[in-house]
Symmetry: C2
Subunit: 410 residues, 2 copies
Amino acid sequence: MRQSQFFIKTQKEPPKDEVSINAQLLTRGGFIYKNFAGIYTFFHLGTLVLQKIIKIVREEMDAIGGQEILLNALQDPAIWEKTKRWSDEELDIWFKTKLKNKSELGLASTHEEPLAELMSHYIHSYEDLPIYVYQIQTKFRNELRPRGGLLRTREFIMKDLYSFSSTEEELNEFYETVVRSYTKIFERVGLGDVTYRTFASGGAFSKFSDEFQTVCKAGEDTIYLDERKNIAVNKEIYTDEVLSDLGLNKKDLKELKAVEVGNIFKLGTRFSEPFGLMFEDEQGNKKPVVMGSYGIGPARVMGTIVEVHHDEKGIIWPESVAPFKAHLLNLHADVKKADDIHNRLTESGVDVLYDDRDISSGEKLVEADLIGIPTRIVVSEKTLEKKSVEIKKRGEKSISLLPIDKLHEI
Amino acid sequence: MRQSQFFIKTQKEPPKDEVSINAQLLTRGGFIYKNFAGIYTFFHLGTLVLQKIIKIVREEMDAIGGQEILLNALQDPAIWEKTKRWSDEELDIWFKTKLKNKSELGLASTHEEPLAELMSHYIHSYEDLPIYVYQIQTKFRNELRPRGGLLRTREFIMKDLYSFSSTEEELNEFYETVVRSYTKIFERVGLGDVTYRTFASGGAFSKFSDEFQTVCKAGEDTIYLDERKNIAVNKEIYTDEVLSDLGLNKKDLKELKAVEVGNIFKLGTRFSEPFGLMFEDEQGNKKPVVMGSYGIGPARVMGTIVEVHHDEKGIIWPESVAPFKAHLLNLHADVKKADDIHNRLTESGVDVLYDDRDISSGEKLVEADLIGIPTRIVVSEKTLEKKSVEIKKRGEKSISLLPIDKLHEI
């Protein structure tokens, strides 16, 4: 795609009202725009990254038998009153609104209640189970203090998976399947090395839940990591009793800041009982369905990737989520020859952004580092003399020459 | 995909509170679930159809140079006060809500204002124009009386494209490009034969806007169609003056019910002026940017397809948007042999739903007609004797035998 026709506007200076690295770099790079506190627009560059993350998440959900569905944001209070979660005291992040007839509605921040209600009409027998459904849909949270750029916003896309099982054993088995799936997702998006399964509070549902915490300075959570055992404990449950439960030793633990990029819960029958979500087992006994829920926020993941992968010049996208694979810069070389290189790249299937604009070489190089596409390809009169282009990986120092007739090897 | 593991629950009887054909058939077929008036959940089958429609729309938007972005639903009133559209008198379908600090927010039913505001920070010169951006995002409309199943809901996915041009001429040219693009989209989703470009009121923006109206009984609009000229007029502007303007003659016009499946507007400078969305032309003169907006609602399109393509037995999906290409039914044939046919089909890349359940042949056949997958493949002891399967196209009467070793030809 030609940059002259691409709507990207980068900025030299970070916006004054953003303190987080991800918001600063993503705004400067032309990925996002802040509408107001906790509310961001994604420009085309940002949408491309978000869609790549979503694609990876979707593939991994499908791979473990997830069936994609789509629930509504607008919520009927009657459903949430059954679990007492309509009240702002119980769930303090509701955005509430009204129909024309003055009856109240809410905007969902999660979907356990409506899905348990819905499934109660469809699940009747052990033969209907297990079922795993997920959606990729916009959630709303009335945050008092949104912060950290894309890390905590008031409106965000969420992947939420829900499991419906006939037994605790089946839930436990699927839960560990999701752990492996999430591990793979965080590896694929480039966060594998710094993301840890972390024990956290199970809330009203169970003793523990599991979080996936990515170690980075911007994190608002504190975790205690046992690097040898590759597990961590969230500060919220960091007690002698819990450590002894988990067989962890204080002296092996390192205190670190981290971002919660995923969380998984064993819900048990907390939601199925209020909604009469029951099934008949093989002996004809009525039992409540055993549920689990599993979340990942793709935009928060995007912000976390920037927090982890950047330098003083800009973002360093992992290839799997980069908006383009390659960034071709024409530094005052013959336009026809540069166009020809662009054509060769697109014809060999390379997803390339082509900076064909009439601006200085310095500006192009600085902007390429800021945007952070993994492979930079420079064409100049000097490289053309050698029938070559200059290749540099973002985040690495070495520069090499590649003959033009080997461009397809990129 | 094996139907025994697929979460689909069909119903013999239509839901009592649905009168529209699309809501009845889509609910009975296990595509959607009504949460409350105007609010629907999409099950996996429904999500598959919706995603196919969205994919077609996205491809056609990309083909005309659209750059996908993602705007927020939550809206700052200050932006909308600039065009006086925050007031419920001016825009009567707002859902309004409040932040914790009591300040008001709204849920967007359209995005002209926030996008004009945003672009005013980025567009400065004629060299920045034209720009075409679109999004596929959830809209909210506080409808007093939602109706017609998926045809008029309170929450729905919308594709909205916005154009930013330096001149009226450039807008007019792109506007006609969108007309061709929309025509292609409606052809591709199977509505081409009954969808007409229809002159409608331009509202506050211009003399006329254009709607794409699909002729069907469920439509809430009335149009007057000149079949020979292939254009129509919406009843709302059906006056002698308009007819004479458009060179239409009353006696050539047929009164028909129709669903508005798309609309396109020339906005001119209606939104750019209040937001100071100006650019410098080649002579250095400051001018307001000339805008257009272009909408299609994929879920409404889905409902309309059902209204147009069904019979007394169920839905007849056009192949382009069908949840699966083929529906393999095992009617009490040897399970291993049926599984083998399923494997052959998936190995040759056929997107197939496999009814492997232990229920009666009658139930399977009735349900297949209801769900409406284009090609039905029956395997039974009788067809196996002839080393064949039985092929029937949904909506056609003829049944033919296909040898198993020619399954890849499907």
